[in-house]
């Protein structure tokens, strides 16, 4: 009996301990405990990138990885705005050399002794080899990959300016079509057979010459993007998706500050600091791309981005970056509020509790969260089809007055407030803030709301009270859009209501994307809404959208407004190749004046990104364009751990309330039942 009692007591004690242990170990921390001591940056992704092949990857999601794994010859200064190029893998920024035959040469010199990350693919180059030096021919190889139709790179067009690259592409196609067994050859052999490319010359292991058929100074910006990173042929050949080997598109092998150590598209990616990175191996070089900047913009010091603790220090500061998949926005945001993500955007459901009167709410500020607003190098606009006989150039002065009048009633600020939570800077011109040529003092006379002036212009155009004299009815226009969503319809109806103030009857014709494209191809559209995000921070990347050469009806280019103006084109040619300076600024002003008058676009707004950061994350400056920013960031794991513990203490009263409620409901039932039974 006694031993039975002891056994029961022991069992009870064990069970109670197990229960206590289980309750104690219950917590909402999704990470292993060891992580709390390390410099790990936690961030999230919604959908995995389709590809990490640097020649193909063209989305923000993919550049978040490739931009930090693949180093580039040049990069942007982390803090300075407008953006400024600095040397990356290249020792210096090459100066253009203008040749007598009109071609332009750029000579890149790679730093000495740069290594790729360790990877098994390098065994292809020699047994036991785990890495090798980066050579100029690796950049040349990547440029050839961009031209290779089988790679299907979306950026061949800007590189087609490299002398002979288009011919190389054509030769490659011919050889693949005509020579049996050619496609079975290793890629580098195929390229060798189809080459050489006149405009790409590998001088030696470190010297690379790029020869452009005509001046295109913006080519240097492309050398700051992952498209032009050195790529080892071994990795491309080895990671062919056969057997146990993954595809090169899922297995990046670069020479950047981080390397991918885990890549599960459905669940998580893990990046670790690359010990082979030149910044880690040669901190004594104090190379611009491997050292925290010592100078920046006026507000950088105030925002703690020029802390003496970091200035001039070797990068990177973070040991590991964890990307966790979060498909739904609410759990993602809640985890940020619990301290399990270091940074976050703002979900629309919580916008009003996070941002109050365009500032961070006191509740968020109290938690040490900071709000960083960045105007994206982008623009949203309403376009007129200038080939249209009513709203376009063919309507002459009458059409121009109509466009001016319509521009005067669209209130961008109200639009941004209603549909963007106020996240947008009303546009006055095509060039957004942060880009050379942007003038903060410029006020476009047709981009302020002036209903009286708009009505006068309608009168001058012969549309008194919006009535078309030919029909005696309100002028009827069509607004074509590929957005059929209910939210889109609300937005478009807002525009319709603005133009109704002038008596114009605008009909929204929402179709699917392909039907819309068909209408654009056939020129059967009048008004449309579109946007553009810069590839690189140069006014050329915006103003080219309105050149004749890019007109949709001329070349199928992105000038969907089909704006064609000889004076504008001539000024664009001057501006395109000019150095940033007063002359270039003056040319941009002249171009702006033409657009102001002709109104092929109603400039709406430059989108603004709002991002939230916890206090333990330092040196955050969103870029808005592709730039390896993670190497500059730092986390304080001690502060994070303490704050997480403080923020995640259980609140147990809801459980007690629920328990009491359950008892209150069930007990009367039991009492009633047993009473009835008696």
């Amino acid at each position: 009996m006694r031993s039975e009692g002891m056994l029961r007591s022991l069992l009870t004690a064990v069970l109670a301990s197990a229960l206590a242990l289980a309750i104690a170990s219950c917590n909402n921390n999704p990470y292993p405990d060891d992580d709390a001591k390390q410099k790990v940056l936690y961030t999230s992704f919604v959908d995995a990138p389709r590809t990490l092949d640097p020649a193909v990857a063209y989305t923000t999601a993919s550049h978040a990885i490739t931009g930090n794994v693949y180093d580039t010859l040049l990069e942007y200064h982390y803090l300075k705005r407008p953006f400024e190029l600095i040397p990356g893998l290249a020792e210096r920024i090459p100066e253009p050399e203008f040749l007598e035959d009109g071609r332009v040469r750029y000579r890149f010199q790679l730093r000495e002794g740069i290594l790729f990350q360790d990877d098994p693919s390098f065994e292809l180059g020699g047994a036991g080899r785990s890495t090798r030096p980066v050579r100029a021919e690796d950049v040349a190889f990547e440029l050839q990959r961009i031209a290779d139709p089988a790679v299907n790179s979306p950026v061949f067009e800007p590189f087609s300016n490299i002398d002979g690259l288009a011919d190389f592409r054509a030769r490659l196609v011919t050889l693949r079509e005509q020579e049996e067994g050619f496609t079975d050859l290793p890629l580098r052999v195929q390229y060798r057979r189809a080459g050489p490319v006149r405009g790409i010359r590998v001088a030696d292991d470190r010297g690379l010459e790029i020869l452009l058929a005509q001046p295109y100074p913006q080519i240097l910006y492309w050398f700051s993007m992952p498209f032009t990173t050195p790529v080892p042929w071994e990795a491309v050949e080895y990671y062919d998706g056969e057997g146990d080997r993954s595809r090169f598109a899922d297995h990046p092998v670069g020479s950047g500050p981080f390397r991918v150590v885990e890549y599960d598209k459905e669940s998580r990616f893990v990046l670790e600091a690359n010990p082979n990175w030149y910044g880690a191996r040669h901190p004594e070089w104090s190379a611009p791309g491997a050292t925290y900047p010592v100078e920046g913009e006026a507000d950088d010091a105030a925002k703690g981005r020029l802390d003496p603790e970091y200035r001039g220090r070797a990068l990177p500061f973070i040991e590991r970056i964890e990307f966790r998949r979060e498909k739904e926005s609410i759990p993602r945001f809640n985890k940020f509020l619990q301290g399990y993500y270091d940074a976050s955007g703002i979900v629309k459901e919580s916008f009003d509790t996070v941002v109050v009167e365009d500032r961070l709410s006191p509740e968020m500020a109290e938690r040490g969260i900071s709000l960083e607003k960045t105007v994206a190098p982008a623009i949203y606009y309403m376009g007129f089809n200038m080939d249209d006989p009513v709203v376009g150039a063919a309507a002459g002065v009458r059409g121009r007055l109509l466009r001016q009048a319509m521009s005067l009633v669209v209130d961008s600020e109200e639009y941004a407030r209603l549909f963007q939570n106020g996240r947008g800077v009303p546009s006055q011109s095509v060039v957004p803030p942060g880009i050379f040529g942007y003038d903060p003092d410029y006020e476009n006379p047709f981009r302020k709301v002036d209903l009286d002036r708009a009505r006068e212009l309608m009168d001058e155009a012969g549309y008194r009270d919006g009535v078309d004299p030919e029909t005696g009815k309100p002028l009827r226009l069509t607004f074509d859009t590929p957005d059929t969503s209910p939210q889109g319809q609300l937005r478009f109806q807002w525009f319709v209501n603005q133009w109704r103030k002038l008596g114009i009857d605008v009909q929204v014709d929402a179709t699917n994307y392909n039907q819309f494209q068909e209408k654009v191809r056939n020129g059967a559209y009048q008004l449309f809404m579109w946007g553009w995000v810069a590839d690189y921070p140069d006014p050329e990347n915006f103003l080219f959208l309105l050149t004749t050469a890019m007109a949709r009806s001329v070349s199928g280019g992105p000038n969907t407004a089909n704006f064609q103006n000889e004076e504008f084109d001539a000024l664009f040619e001057q501006m395109e190749t000019a150095e940033n300076g007063p002359d270039r600024a003056a040319t941009i002003v002249q171009m702006r004046e033409i657009l102001e008058r002709e109104r092929p676009w109603i400039e709406l707004f430059h989108p603004e990104n709002y991002a939230l950061f916890h206090s333990w994350l330092s040196n955050v400056k969103p870029a808005g364009i592709s730039n390896p920013t993670l190497k500059y960031r730092d986390v304080d794991p001690g502060a994070r751990r303490a704050t997480r513990e403080q923020w995640n203490r259980p609140v147990i009263w809801p459980a007690i309330v629920l328990g009491v409620l359950a008892v209150a409901v069930v007990v009367p039932g039991l009492v009633t039942y047993f009473r009835e039974r008696q």
Partner: protein, 320 residues
């Protein structure tokens, strides 16, 4: 019985063919191959890149046999599915078969406990409610069940994430780690939500069966002979109510493999339900058709298994 099974299999083939045709027609009625390409490549890529993508994925060919009898997408669609050559995902060119094999583990680790717990809780609760029939507990039970059935699963998910992960902080809001030592922490909340959101319907269904069974003559006879209520319910009623329960249970088993669309999506579990949601959102036709095809096959198999199980548990049933 063999003839019956063969006949059901033949019906199944017709169903699967019909499902595949319906999927193809509906998908391409609302989606153009350009949309599939654009979803995969992004909005900014030039048209020539889209055309090349379509060519390399076979979406540049005619859709229908009457456009080109020898080379059309519909016949290829059938050929690929019937030969179980699922190919690569439109979204990222990875092998669909690999992704399915990889996703099956997380899906089963969610759905199997959900299924077992659902039965272990649902059947006793239904028995209990039926045992207390026509009393306060029965009425309360029915009310709670109807209420639980009426609430959207989304509300359960958001409510549980708020209450258990945000306030009580017992489990992570979302996430998944296949490591056996921690996987329970990530699965506990979705399993709890799954059990709670499903128990209303299950308990009510089982209760109806038990109450119906409890009113039969043999039960009355057992009562007249003095058998206790507990013995009647657990020994007689439960055993005889097994047939309709089995229908429900056997039909559910095949779908354990396809995972849970909502739970996996909201709790970040990289299973097959999540894969299906991704395919729907991303216009990924090759993945979607595979998941629908597998779903149709499992449905047919489930139906046949249900019929067979009838015959096994009830000697009165003859499959002819």
């Amino acid at each position: 019985m063999l003839a019956y099974v063969l006949r059901r299999l033949a019906y199944g083939v017709v169903v699967v063919f019909g499902v595949l045709l319906l999927l193809f027609v509906l998908f391409f009625a609302v989606t153009d191959p350009d949309d599939i390409a654009r979803q995969s490549l992004g909005e900014r890529v030039p048209q020539n890149v889209i055309e090349q993508w379509k060519q390399s994925h076979g979406y540049d060919r005619p859709l229908w046999p009457w456009q080109d009898w020898d080379d059309n997408q519909l016949f290829d669609h059938y050929a690929a599915m019937l030969s179980f050559d699922f190919g690569r995902r439109d979204s990222d060119d990875t092998l669909i078969s690999e992704r399915i094999l990889k996703g099956m583990g997380p899906s089963l680790s969610l759905t199997v406990p959900l299924f077992v717990l659902g039965l272990l809780l649902g059947i006793p609760l239904a028995l209990l409610v039926a045992f207390f029939r026509e009393t306060y507990i029965d009425r309360l039970g029915v009310f709670v069940c109807v209420f639980a059935m009426s609430v959207s699963v989304l509300l359960y998910i958001v409510g549980a994430q708020y209450l258990i992960a945000k306030l009580l902080r017992w489990f992570p809001i979302s996430g998944f780690d296949p490591d056996p030592s921690v996987v329970v922490r990530f699965l506990a909340l979705p399993i709890l939500v799954g059990v709670v959101s499903g128990f209303g319907g299950e308990v009510r269904f089982y209760r109806t069966i038990f109450v119906e069974e409890g009113s039969r003559d043999y039960v009355r006879t057992a009562r007249a002979k003095g058998a206790s209520e507990g013995r009647i319910m657990s020994l007689h009623v439960l055993r005889n109510a097994l047939i309709p329960i089995l229908t429900q249970v056997v039909l559910t088993i095949p779908f354990l493999f396809t995972g849970s669309l909502l739970l996996e999506s909201f709790f970040g579990i990289p299973g097959l339900g999540s894969l299906t949601v991704d395919a729907i959102r991303g216009n990924d036709f090759s993945t979607l058709r595979t998941m629908v095809y597998i779903g149709a096959l499992l449905f047919v198999v489930g139906q046949i298994l249900t019929d067979l199980s009838y015959a096994l548990v009830d000697p009165r049933v003859r499959l002819e």
